[in-house]
Every structure is written in structure tokens, then in C-alpha cells.
Homo-oligomer: 422 residues x 2
């Protein structure tokens, strides 16, 4: 079994749900790549007792390494370095080199931004961030907060203390992996592989039935399945020796699900659509009503998307549909803006207006208002038009306004893939 | 002090970072509204030992209630009900009414979607989901999984077992609050208030200096500050008796930061922009290059946005800028697509094309490629044009492609607010 690490995320803003934690997931992924499994992610508020309890919980679960994020800022509620020092029975002192370094960084930032800073308050804030547990190695700040590697004490593992802002934490990661204490804790670990297979279409129960039918063929794989935005993800984690079992899993799912297995290698639907457009030398444009730019935004999430995305139309009002996308006003009047015919006209309008090979039209009722018995909230018409012809679908999405809009974007991406690869 | 609850989120997909946990934050917010503080959110994978350890950690921290999410599905890695039963020393048995109810739900779903189900596999999956700890109250399924309220045993608090899909968990929440066991655990609790004040502009160190200057005036408030997408959030949690202290905090920040305090009552920038457009009877349109629809998508996140968003242009290519937004080709050629002048022309083009009162133009280098010494990655030009005139800004955003795009959207929203409220 791989060595395990515990992650403690601090911050009342994360605990109370005002901010989504991005550090736990990111650290878990980096640790896996380094051959370290994660035992638990614990989120606690900015309260010393709760942070201490969380550290103790991780240590008692037998992890080889604990990582914390957050609580290294200049404000009074930033307490992590102090609590970790106390937990390990270490005193704290000011690192004068670090104090100078942080002061220089703060001065540069405030000069760049034209901030007028109170010198006394600034010096106090800098001093706080430069006060570190004795015996800890300091990781150079990416923002203003340094990271810390606090060595093992007695029965406890080393604790790596990292700043909360994801950009700073991520920027510091190479220094964490290069630190001798961390290297000793994770040395000579064998790689832990992770593979993902994605399906679009079958219900989760059919997948679970398929896995049960092949019971015993996949020894050595830790398989988890997850339904996400309508896609089924089958993720395996395994030691390199179990690669043949993973290959058997891929073959079994391909045999059972055929075309519904759209990603044998973990590629996301975004990547698959991008590759299909690039491979075909095709360009794409969108005309969106209820999703209002979210599909265009998603198609351009990937770097290099300007090679195939030329642009899009957000036709939220009826006038925008007719004026921008060239949907006949008569069509909107006769059938309503949310209709299969208008979706087709929008897709063709996007192609024509932007001069692209592929056009996508989306019109629906995102809710919560605006539904009628004939056209309830959640009804969306989609059309994808390309050199190979057209694909049209009517879907009914349950859930909130955000659910309807997000799910519709995923359905659109799968329709683009289907049209381009058939 | 308010009673506290512990939240245990299960799922290897969440622990390993493939899926963002939405349940911990959502439950924390609901619990707060019910006067219950959250002590910790623990994320563990689909491993019985880890789930047991997490339950024990919560119980030992002295919480009055434990809530779990996830692990109630039909697949073999869904183990929560079984582990909670074992943790409390309860046996499990099939609830035959529930078995029938779930079978009916599954039948309806598969009929609606035209799925061909293997009857034996379906019956086994249903039976698994209908097997519950003895003594537990069953909460009616929203999807196919029931929720459970497992009463206190000996020294442990009650455990509320909820499904992982956010839509199902959220749909079940009213039944959780109505359950007698839950009501007894949280009864007669006084309200715990939360108030948020938002600033745009000052550095975090100035905020912390301001709070230090007023030290002692805010007793009874648990204040946390957080920098998010460039906005500073000041959140207080307090018992109703401390309302005067919260009022003093609001007055002190208003005095210290003036116009930079844009939200005294916690309203989001999205809500403030929506209110300014509605109050002024104004309509808006966008022309986006690097954000490619994300601003239009965000402006339409709120229900009722069709009253003021007419549409938008995603002008990703140079041709789209000239053809759709009417940016003079000569301008693009002479100054480049990423220039202050092109941002102005895009804002005016959006206004003109959509016939709106307000237009927004955004053009920048989102990266990671495409940067030059003169126009580096992170450079974005924005312009907002409206009846009161124009506002233009050049910003330099650090970080990833996603950071640049997201931050740009927030800056645009604040520029719209500034223009409309000045």
C-alpha cells in the first residue's frame, strides 16, 4: 500500500461554504502523481482548537506527511504557523532574512499598485509573516507568505504549511517536492497510477451490473464510479503491476457499452471536441439563448482554441435572434423562441454569420420562471449543424437554473462530438 | 456558544479532486441558518476504515449532530449506510416498503428514458438501496437513494445520512429539518447571524490595519476576512445580542474605505449590477474576445436577467470583431486586437448591434500562449459605455488562463457598477 498523507484546509470562509476549496483537490492530485495516497481532507475554521484537533486526527490515522493550506496571511485570524509550532512543541522566532525579503515584496507590490501604506502597520504585518517555528525550513514566498516544512517530532510526521491562495500554493509546490524532509518522508515510493474511462448514455445501474458480471477479473484495481453532469466516470487507482487488470477493464467496458464509451483514456469531452475540430480542420460558432455564452466560454477554456472557435452570438432577446442570428421573425412568432425550428435556424445563423464549418444553436427555458405547461422549465432544444449534416435534440433537464444551463452545455459538447465523429 | 455539527463527505472522486465538493459548503450554510455551527468538514474516500475514522473524529470533537453525504448509490463502492450502522452497533435489514418505492422510481425513470434494464441487476441494486440500519428513520428518495436519520447511541450523536448528488441532498433537506431526532438535537438553539461586507480596491493589509485600529469595538463578533477574485470580504458571525457591534463594524469600515465599500449588506456584485440596470430601466450587451461569453453567461446567471440582457457578441477572431462588432479593420491592423481603442469600438459595437443602453468590450491575452513583450499574457483592455459616458481600463492579471478570464469578468462587473452609480 502506498504511503498516505493528510490534508488540513483552514479558513472559516471555506468551512462555511463562502469559498470553494481548490487546494485540497489540487494537492491530492499532486500527491498521487508523487506516489502518495491521500487519507483525508479536513476543513476547519480559523480557530486554534479546531486546527489542533484536525492535526491530531491526521497524525493518529498514521499518515506519513501532513499538509496544511491557509492561515499564513498578515491578519490576526491567520494562525496556522503558530498552531503547528505549538502542536509540535516548538517555539517561534522572527527569521530576519525572511523579514527583509517580505518587506521588499510588499514594497514592490504597493509601488506597482500606487497604494499608500501605513509604515507601522506594514512592518507589523511583515513581522508576523516572518515569524516561523524553530527548526522549520522556509519555502520562498510566491505572494507575501512563506511556506514552511516543519520536521517530524517524536511520533508525529512532518507538517508542510502552505499559503491559502491557490496561485501561491501551486507556485510553491516544486519547492515542497525538492525539500529534503519531504523527500525523506516519501522516498522510494512506487508510482500510483490512475486511469479514467468515461461513458455517455448508460444509467449507473447498468455500469454497476457490468462490473459485477466481470467480478474477479479486476483484482488490484481500486475502482470508483461517479455520475457527473450526465457522464459516467470509471476511475481506477492501481500499482503498475496491475496494469493488465486495467487493460481488461477497458476491454470489458468497450465490449459492454460500445459507442457509449466515448473516452477510453480519460480525455475530457472538451479535449475530444477540440481534437475533432483540429483534426478535421474545422471551425465552429455558437448561437446561444438560455446558456447565453456559457458554451462559447467553455469551448474557449482550452488554450489554442482560437484555431477553431471564431466567435458566437448570444441571442437572449427575440430581436437578437432575428437581427443577429437571422432567425425568421415569423418562425419565432409562430412556434415560439423555444422550439426545434428556432434551434436549427440559430445553428445555421451562427454558421452563416461567422462563416464557420460547424454551428450550434441552443434555446430553452432555464427557469425558475418562464415555464408553461407546453414548454416547462428545463426544456431545451439544441441543434448542431456541420459538413456531415445536422443533429437536433430536445432535452428535459431537472434541477435549478444553473443545473439546466450547465447540463445543456455538456449535452451540446456531446452532440458536437457525435456529429464530427460519425 | 452555538451547538456544532460535523460533516463527513465521502467519495474517492471528491477526495482525489476529480469532483468539487458542493455538499459540505451547502450543508454548512443551511446549518448556520438553523443556528448550528460547523466544527469540521472531513472528506474521505470510499474506504470503510477511513469513513469510520472520520465518524469517530467528529464524535470525539463533541458535535451534537453528524451529517454524511454520498455513498448511498447502487454500486458496490457505496458503503455509507453499512458503515454508519456498524459504527453505531446496529444491524441492517431490508425495508420492504422502501424497496417497492425505489423499484417504482427506477421503473419510471427507465421508461422515460427508454432504457433496457437487466431485471435481476435492477432488483439487486434496488434491494441494496433499501437495506437500512435498524432503528433509522427513512427520508423519502429524491433520486433513487433514501436518506437516513440514525438516532444517537450511547455517547454518540445522531447521524444524518444523505445522498451525494447535490440535487438529491438539497431536495431532502426540508425532511431533515422536520425529523424529530434532528429537531431534538438542535432544539431551542438561538439564531446565529452572519453578515458580510464587501470591499473592492484596498489591499488586505489596509483592511487588517483598519480592524486593528478599532480593536475592542467589535466584541462578540467572530470576524474573518477573505480576498476573493480581487474583492475583500469581511464576514462576521454573531449572536443577536452582538448586533450593535456589527453596526459599529459597518460604520467603521464605511468611514475608513468610503466608496471602496461597495456592498454594506452582503449583496454580490452580480446582484448590485442587476439592481442598477433594473432601477435605471437600462439594457446591456457585451462584445467579448478573451472571455468569450463568460461575462454574458455571468450576467444571465440571475433569474429575470432577460429584463436587461439583450444579448452579446463573442468576437474571438479578428474577422468577428470587424464583421460582428463593427470594429474598423484598420484599427485592429494598426493597434492590434488587444488595444484600448479596440475595446472601446467593441463596447460601442455591442451597444449599436443589440440596440442597448450599455455596452461592454473586452479584449486581452488570456494565455498561456500569444503573449509578446509589449502585450504580455494577462493584459486585458476593458471598456464600458453607457448613457453617462465611458469607462476604460487596462489591467494586468497574474495567474493561469482561467484566472485571467475569471478576474476579467469580475473587473468588468465592477466597471459596470461604477459607471451606472456615479
Amino acid at each position: 500500500m502506498a504511503p498516505r498523507a493528510g490534508i488540513v484546509v483552514t479558513g472559516t470562509e471555506v468551512l462555511t461554504g463562502r469559498v470553494t476549496d481548490r487546494n485540497g483537490p489540487w494537492l491530492a492530485e499532486q500527491l498521487r502523481a508523487a506516489g502518495i495516497d491521500v487519507a483525508q481532507v479536513v476543513v476547519v475554521g480559523d480557530r486554534p482548537d479546531d486546527l489542533r484537533d484536525a492535526l491530531r486526527f491526521c497524525v493518529e490515522s498514521g499518515v506519513a506527511l501532513v499538509l496544511t493550506s491557509g492561515g499564513l496571511g498578515p491578519t490576526a485570524d491567520d494562525l496556522t504557523a503558530e498552531v503547528v509550532a505549538g502542536f509540535q512543541g516548538r517555539t517561534m522566532s522572527v527569521d530576519t532574512d525572511l523579514d527583509r525579503e517580505i518587506a521588499g515584496i510588499v514594497e514592490r507590490i504597493s509601488r506597482n499598485r500606487g497604494w499608500q501604506m501605513d509604515p507601522e502597520a506594514t512592518a507589523a504585518a511583515t513581522r508576523k509573516q516572518a515569524t516561523v517555528p524553530d527548526g522549520a525550513a522556509v519555502l520562498a514566498p510566491v505572494g507575501t507568505a512563506p511556506g514552511l516544512v516543519v520536521p517530524a517530532t517524536g511520533d508525529g510526521p512532518p507538517v508542510v504549511v502552505l499559503p491559502g491562495p491557490p496561485r501561491e500554493l501551486q507556485g510553491m509546490w516544486p519547492a515542497v517536492l525538492a525539500d529534503p524532509t519531504v523527500r525523506a518522508a516519501v522516498q522510494a515510493r512506487s508510482e500510483l497510477r490512475q486511469a479514467t474511462i468515461r461513458l455517455w448514455g448508460p444509467p449507473e445501474s447498468e455500469l454497476s451490473a457490468s462490473l459485477r458480471r466481470h467480478d474477479g477479473e479486476f483484482d488490484g484495481l481500486e475502482i470508483t464510479t461517479c455520475l457527473r453532469s450526465g457522464e459516467l466516470e470509471v476511475v481506477s487507482r492501481y500499482a503498475p503491476e496491475a496494469q493488465p487488470a486495467q487493460d481488461r477493464l477497458g476491454a470489458a467496458l468497450a465490449a459492454d457499452f460500445g459507442d457509449q464509451l466515448f473516452s477510453p483514456d480519460g480525455a475530457s469531452i472538451d479535449e475530444i471536441v477540440a481534437a475533432a475540430l483540429l483534426d478535421g480542420g474545422l471551425t465552429i460558432a455558437t448561437a446561444e439563448s438560455c446558456t447565453a455564452g456559457l458554451l462559447a466560454g467553455r469551448l474557449t477554456d482550452l488554450a489554442g482554441s482560437s484555431a477553431y472557435v471564431l466567435g458566437g452570438l448570444v441571442t437572449y432577446s427575440d430581436e437578437a435572434k432575428t437581427e443577429l442570428a437571422g432567425v425568421p421573425a415569423e418562425l419565432v412568432e409562430r412556434l415560439g423562441a423555444v422550439s426545434a425550428e428556432v434551434a436549427v435556424a440559430m445553428a445555421e445563423g451562427a454558421r452563416r454569420r461567422l462563416g464557420t464549418d460547424v454551428g450550434v444553436g441552443i434555446t430553452g427555458v432555464a427557469g425558475p420562471g418562464g415555464g408553461t405547461p407546453e414548454k416547462p422549465v428545463g426544456l431545451v432544444h439544441l441543434c448542431v449543424s456541420g459538413p456531415n449534416g445536422r443533429l437536433a435534440r430536445e432535452i428535459h433537464v431537472p434541477g435549478s437554473r444553473a443545473d439546466v444551463r450547465q447540463r445543456t452545455v455538456v449535452v451540446a459538447l456531446h452532440m458536437i462530438r457525435t456529429l464530427l465523429t460519425r
